[in-house]
């Protein structure tokens, strides 16, 4: 386990962040904090993708026109593209979730999951 910290450090960080995001989704009663947990989980996945694309001693994925591409050492562009679009889709997802939360508050007057369950059970 410990020996991986030197060579697999970003993966270790990504997995720990996944766990923290999951904990927030399970344990926090407040709906807004659950949404923050979803976002945290997402960034952990993004970190995983970006570290898969990383190459030691390389450069950002810019391919200069004048150099011979055969000797280039640059990061893989494909995971970057996937993460790029995922970030924008992620903020759209967050906005839809928050809109639903605003709507839930207007309807039930609470953002706590346990209170919400009681109110709905009473109806």
């Amino acid at each position: 386990m410990i020996e991986y910290l030197d060579t697999h450090y970003t993966y270790v960080l990504a997995f720990v962040l996944l766990a923290i995001g999951l904990y927030m989704m399970i344990a926090n009663e407040n709906l807004v904090k659950k949404v923050i947990g979803v976002n945290l989980f997402q960034t952990a996945i993004f970190l995983f993708f970006v570290s898969v694309a990383y190459v030691e001693g390389g450069d950002a994925p810019i391919v200069p026109a004048e150099t011979n591409p055969g000797e280039l050492l640059v990061a893989s562009p494909l995971p970057h593209v996937i993460v790029l679009t995922a970030i924008v889709v992620g903020v759209a997802l967050t906005a839809v979730a928050l809109a639903l939360i605003v709507r839930i508050y207007a309807e039930y007057g609470t953002l706590r999951e346990d209170t919400l369950r009681e109110v709905r059970a009473d109806e």
């Binding site: 950002a60 810019i62 790029l84 924008v88 759209a92 906005a95 809109a99 605003v102 508050y105 207007a106």
Partner: protein, 178 residues
Amino acid sequence: MADQYDDTYTESQVILTSVKIIAPFTLTYGLFMTFHGADTPGGSFQGGAIIGVTILMLAFAFGIEPTRQWLSNSTLVALIAGGVSIFLGVGLATMALGGAFLEYELFDEVLGIAPKWGMETIEIGGIALIVAGVVITLFFATASGFTPERGTDSSSSPGSVAGRGGDRDSENGGDDDD
């Protein structure tokens, strides 16, 4: 409870001054990133997001409702719908020329335009508009919250954000009692 929401806008000299200084630079940076995304790190997703954030900064400094009226709703809708149509249009244009969706090489073969310009159209005209427009729309939609009826909104005078917020909160308060 209703008093809690009324302080969504406070005119602050610190925020106003710093936004006045920073906003031109962020807008320029966002545009630079959008237009120069082909050869340097950056591109339409990043540039569009930064252009959108510039408007969000202005809204924080000058109040959300005045900014929303200055940047009318139809402009935003035109931005987003226009972005999607331009993207789709370029894709269908290549198909009309007898190729596949977004086959830029056909622009070169048939019309003599370098494939790069097809990509730039997608980037600048398509994605940047969509991202900037959606970021701003989501912000305004979330900022105005849930409105059961729009009747009270049109009667409020421009710029009175606090008064508007108060109206809506009493409506929401009414909903909570059911």
